[in-house]
Amino acid sequence: MIFSTLEHILTHISFSVVSIVITIHFLTLFLLVDEVVGLYDSSKKGMIVTFFCITGLLVTRWIYSGHFPLSDLYESLIFLSWGFSLIHMVSYLKFKKRKNNLSAITAPSAIFTQGFATSGLLTKMHQSAILAPALQSQWLMMHVSMMVLGYAALLCGSLLSVALLVITFRKAIKIIGENNNFSFSFGKIQYMNERSNVLLNTYFLSSKNYYRYQLTQQLDRWSYRIISLGFIFLTIGILSGAVWANEAWGSYWNWDPKETWAFITWTIFAIYFHTRTNTNLEGVNSALVASMGFLIIWICYFGVNLLGIGLHSYGSFTLN
């Protein structure tokens, strides 16, 4: 009993903290608040709190149910939001010197996945359930956790690529049309503050284009790195899944919908890497491929479960 209350508390805390963080981001973005630094500090702390809350939530569930918390859709969604906050923590800790704006991507993702998980659609699954016989294996920990972490990283990276595309084609899309240098948030503020004295004699670029260029470069590089990480996790996940399938179902690869879509995801991101090798296609084209990858990951993770068929059917749920 105490565990379930603890779970409840942790869920609520993490959810509220993340919403506060996002609100802060929106404030800095749209209202151009002057004490950017102060608010930014608190948003950083907020993400740390979220990370620990979700970790606590997962550990509690693990202890309470006796099995690794990845047996159905609810638990894997919580794990996915944990993955997002983990990515944020890692990048925050590793790149402390530079202003790290990844939380603009990870925070909303974490909140959306967690919000969906705790929403009314999946209330049946909130209780820790008994593990089905097929899932009682050591491979559960390795395969599923690798896959979900891979999804988290790839989603993050593809969102960054989408951001890159949006910024590049901003004029075409006409999202925010004003000539305001602050309109696209984060990195630009820093650049203005630190580098205002040196810039203007770069060749044939106006200062606004220059900032946008810098930003897109940064986004490009970050998305490349995060997608690489996610790709490694995805590969390990697929390979361990194949080995587990051999133990449990008799063959390494059964062309199950979930397996097939995981392979399609893998292929799309392999295409992403291959487009980056050629400098002509780098930048916008690879971002296009990564954006496609975003949709495909959601189909793979979620859409296949809606079908409810195949060997992975314990990940499914019915809307009631």
Binding site: R221, N285, S313
Partner: protein, 520 residues
């Protein structure tokens, strides 16, 4: 990220109005830092060194190795020339030799490879959207000609292109083979030479050629050997020849793409081998009965040859399930004994879901279970075995039922007692009117009285669903197909024979059949 202000590439790529494809980068006057997008760790050296980054076809950006070439004086020029392939023989061979070269050149084209990968992905997606392995009538119904999807997609498309068995259809396999050949071609033509390039010590001897590199700087009053030491500390491999220095880093990154592509080729080869040379079968066996392996295994491809182990007889000693306290199933267990042709027991093992039995190249998996028969005593007579039939309900849960007629069995409207069970633990009984009468646990010996008939549930006999697989080709020896079948039903009372003829079911699998779902 950016420690220097100056852009290292032309910004042309990111001005929105311009076209997406831009030519290679233009040299700028600035001597900017080396391609930031190509480094993992930006060079912080600002002394006399040049950095040459080589760009390959299938290179990940971060795997580029960096070479630093250094000189003090200006001796004679030396050229470095890398040839992708050794030149052919005499003139007569020239034309013939050109053909494979051209083919290779076409195959290792990167956009072609990307296109192939997209095609494979698209076909796989289509394969999940279209239901696989159904009978043609299903496709006639689902994709009718009168009302085609998207205006043109009818069952003709599905059946002629082989989309009903997409993952073994010629279209799909052909694309995979093409991708495989592209992989091989690319590895041969670009990546192996890249390794050679990376390893070759290419000393640049003249100051001019060094200054032409992407990054260059001049440091007066410095010594080459000092630089060498610093570079070694930074992790470079340094080669010093007279006044010339050459250093590089990141050789391991050259091997990575080759390794990955070779691994993928191996996987594809293994998959092809197993698809053409293995056996597979599945069988549902009630506890107490047996079967011979050779009976149930069918070949999947044209290279499959059976082995000696096919003569083994498998006997199901016991099938039971473990339960959690809540009543849900925790694990399925099947206790099997294997006998060879002489009747000697060669192996005995209890299988469970993630724990298969391996013997002589054959592996037996526990995949499914079903309820075979219910043994009851009626009014003290019996025991009778009533076969349980599966009832279809929505979802994964299974339900089995059987029926015990009471009274006049020859009349057209037979009334009787029905018994339903979800698992082997409890049987629910209903009387002649269909009203709920009671629940009994097998082996409890507690009688229940329904409409004047006393029923005692003695035992619930489950049957275990097993899946068998055998891998690879082995030396074929002649096989004696076992003459023993599962028709050992004569032990049971005759009047129940017609019911028991349904048990066990032997399900011969076809090539495209998937193993049974592991339901609960």
């Amino acid at each position: 990220m950016e420690t220097l202000l100056n852009p290292s590439k032309t910004p042309n790529l990111f001005i929105p109005k311009t076209h997406l494809f831009k030519p290679y980068f233009l040299h700028s006057n600035f001597n900017p830092q080396p391609h930031s997008s190509f480094n993992r760790r930006p060079l912080s050296i600002t002394i006399t060194c040049k950095v040459k980054t080589s760009q390959g076809r299938k290179n990940d950006g971060k795997n580029i190795s960096k070479k630093i070439v250094l000189t003090d004086s200006a001796p004679e020029l030396s050229n470095e020339e890398i040839k992708a392939k050794p030149k052919g023989g005499g003139k007569a061979w020239g034309v013939i030799k050109k053909f494979p070269k051209r083919v290779l050149a076409i195959l290792s084209n990167l956009p072609l490879a990307i296109g192939e990968m997209f095609t494979v992905a698209g076909l796989m997606a289509l394969g999940t959207a279209i239901d696989q392995g159904e009978s043609p009538e299903y496709y006639f119904q689902k994709y009718p000609e009168e009302n085609p999807i998207f205006g043109f997609f009818t069952w003709r498309w599905v059946l002629t292109l082989g989309f009903d068995h997409m993952f073994s259809s010629p279209v799909f396999l052909g694309t995979l083979i093409l991708l495989g050949t592209s992989l091989m071609a690319c590895t041969y033509t670009t990546q192996i030479p890249l390794v050679k390039v990376a390893r070759r010590w290419s000393f640049l001897q003249s100051a001019d050629s060094i200054r032409k590199q992407e990054f260059s700087d001049t440091l007066p009053q410095a010594s080459v050997s000092d630089l060498g030491v610093i570079l070694m500390g930074a992790g470079y491999e340094v080669f010093l020849k007279g006044p010339s220095l050459y250093a590089f880093k990141g050789l391991a990154g050259r091997f990575a793409p080759i390794g990955v592509h070779l691994a993928m080729l191996l996987i594809m080869a293994g998959g092809t081998l197993s698809a053409t040379g293995s056996f597979r079968g599945s069988v549902t066996v009630p506890q107490g009965l047996n079967f011979v392996m050779g009976d149930v295994l069918g070949p999947t491809g044209f290279l499959s040859t059976p082995t000696e182990a096919f003569n083994t007889e498998v006997h199901v000693n016991k099938f039971y399930m473990d339960y959690y306290d809540s009543g849900e199933v925790s694990q399925f267990h099947t206790d099997l004994s294997l006998f060879d042709m002489n009747g000697k027991e060669v192996m005995r093992k209890t299988l469970s879901v993630n724990d298969p039995l391996r013997y002589g190249g054959i592996t037996i998996y526990q995949t499914d279970w079903s309820f075979s028969a219910l043994q009851i005593l009626k009014d003290g007579e019996g025991p009778f075995n009533l076969a349980m039939a599966p009832l279809t309900i929505n979802g994964d849960k299974k339900l089995f039922g059987t029926f015990l007629p009471v009274g006049d069995t020859d009349s057209s409207n037979v009334k009787g007692i029905s018994m339903l069970a979800r698992d082997l633990q409890s049987i629910v009984l209903y009387d002649k009117q269909g009203k709920f009468a009671g629940v009994r646990r097998p082996n409890s010996k507690l009688p229940i009285e329904i409409d004047g008939t006393k029923i005692v549930i003695v035992d619930a006999i489950g049957s275990s669903g097993l899946d068998l697989k055998i891998w690879a080709l082995q030396d074929g020896t002649t096989v004696i197909v076992g003459g023993k079948t599962n028709r050992a039903k004569a032990e049971f009372p005759d009047e129940m024979n017609r019911l028991l003829d349904q048990v066990p079911e032997i399900v011969e699998s076809s090539i495209s059949k998937k193993p049974d779902n592991i339901g609960g």
